[in-house]
Assembly symmetry: C2
Homo-oligomer: 336 residues x 2
């Protein structure tokens, strides 16, 4: 049960724990420990398979080598894939990840933040919920680095890594228009968060640039909290009540999935009766018949950028916020 400690090594080597600590932390040279002693300690340590107790170290140094990851929903393909990339990257630096899902619920997010705080994580990666701006501001005062992902608060100066949501939707909408679609609906989430706002703006800008008048009836906003069944019912209702709709853009992957479900149950032929694009890629979109055009986010790049940014901040905090905006990719398939 008992692990072996620095003391055990010290005893066996006939030196003090101090010396052992110096050697094991690579400070032998700096502290001018003799090569002889140094090697002896190293040897004993590996023989005993010594593993430093991270708790003790953390208590003393204030560093836990742990990062807190708060996402909207770890079961969602986008966040899960990102979590994988980030875990891999963090591992290279010796960091582990503690995760939690907010369900886009601010109270849950606050709870997670609290837990991560008293678990002394070294840094935070956060997909913020609507009213989390105050908490983010507060967190910044603790001196622990915070990197926002997927979205951010325009009025809060912070590090973030996001995708160019405006451009993604703009390109998607323009593509639809070029394909001859004219009455293009958009199904999105009732949310004034920046990523949704940008997606909405991209849609409107594309319409405008192609001189297609914007119609309010073509926009359907749904609350995030709905379950799949209700999403589907709502989407079906929307699709059937708007006259002359010839294409639809789904602003998130789960809306796209529910959208396909809706279209299927209506018996509408995707790509024929109606053009379809979704934000985010997914196996379902790729392999659906017909395959669904989408705005794909560069997941590996996002994950790597987040971790790199966080590690940089952990080593030497920069004075100005680093804000990274990556380009999404329009993948054209059969549905448009």
């Amino acid at each position: 049960m008992k692990g072996i400690s620095i003391k055990d090594i010290a005893k066996q080597a006939g030196v003090s724990p101090t010396t052992v600590s110096f050697v094991l932390n690579g400070k032998a040279k700096e502290k001018r420990i003799s090569d002889q002693v140094s090697k002896k300690i190293q040897k004993i340590a590996t023989r005993l398979k010594y593993k430093p107790n991270q708790l003790a170290r953390g208590l003393r140094t204030g560093k836990t080598k742990t990062i807190g990851l708060i996402v909207e929903d770890i079961a969602n393909n986008f966040f899960a894939s990102l979590a994988k990339v980030m875990e891999d990257e963090a591992d290279k630096y010796g960091y582990k990840v503690l995760y939690g899902s907010t369900e886009d619920n601010t109270e849950k997010a606050k709870g997670l933040l609290e837990v991560l705080k008293y678990r002394q994580v070294d840094g935070y990666i956060i997909t913020p919920t609507k009213n989390l701006d105050k908490e983010i501001e507060l967190l910044k005062t603790t001196g622990k680095p915070v990197v926002l992902m997927d979205r951010y608060f325009p009025h809060v100066s912070s590090h973030y890594v996001v995708v160019d949501n405006f451009q993604g939707t703009y390109d998607a909408t323009s593509h639809l228009i070029q394909q001859g679609y004219r009455k293009i609906g958009i199904v999105t989430i009732t949310s004034d968060q920046i990523q949704m706002k940008d997606r909405m703006d991209g849609y409107m800008a594309a319409l405008k640039d192609h001189r297609i008048p914007f119609q309010k009836t073509l926009v359907k906003k749904l609350p995030f909290e709905l379950d799949r069944e209700h999403f589907t019912t709502e989407i079906k209702h929307f699709l059937t009540t708007v006259k002359g709709l010839d294409a639809v853009f789904f602003a998130t992957n789960y809306l796209g999935i529910c959208g396909i479900e809706s279209l299927r149950s209506l018996g509408w032929q995707i790509g024929k009766k109606i053009g379809v694009i979704s934000f985010d890629d997914h196996d379902l979109f790729r392999l659906h018949s017909p395959a669904i055009t989408c705005v794909a986010q560069p997941i590996p790049a996002i994950g790597k950028n987040i971790i790199n940014l966080l590690m940089q901040e952990l080593n030497q905090p920069s004075t100005s916020p680093q804000q990274i905006v990556l380009a999404p990719e329009l993948i054209i398939r059969e549905s448009t």
Copy 2:
């Protein structure tokens, strides 16, 4: 930066840290602290928003309230969904989850185990890789509870939560036979791990019970390490070389996904030219046209059982291993 500590409260209340600790740990009655002092301390603690330093507590008590989760691939829908359920459940008990993916690579798994160990997790949830049996045995001697998931080692006595893989495949194969399919192929993973063996056995048993001779040429085993492209190439090759194949069973979700991709690129009509079933459910299977029949695992039940089992063992270790086998569900759709 500095958090507030038990000492700060003690000072403000004019008592010793000991007393504060007693009160805050609900031992006021037991230690017969006066109501007056007790209340005063409570009040100060909430006013100061005191959060115990988990590191210090962990160092002292040896409990970190953290569990280590090792899965095959956190980006895989099955594991991601399970991770979500387990996170939620664990949270109810005040536990957080540290995760890692093995990619079914034993060396990676060993590395993860090591990291989790010196991070002093209280318990482990492990999806073991092939040769991890020694490590599991070793882990058991440390007295920390270990729950295996998705698979286990028949020769190692341990707690586990799995699905009845044999029955799942048996039912699926029987269903195919009842639908009139006779030349049923199976695409699985080159692995002698129990979950794959059981799935294979279920297939063979169903054939036998329906007096259909087993043919070795109908079995295709692929190494886990392949990427999607190679999986697809191999599956296409298999499908086209076996003469008269009229149905195929894919033994995992990613094989099913690649299978659909293969069938698509061959232009074969699923459900007409060939019957298809996959293990695990997935949005793609549900919404594909035609929808794909599958053997679905009860993810919420699996997750809850795992956490409950672990919590039980954390509170009072049982002498005999608890082994839970849940029933999978055959969801019949259009592909068969």
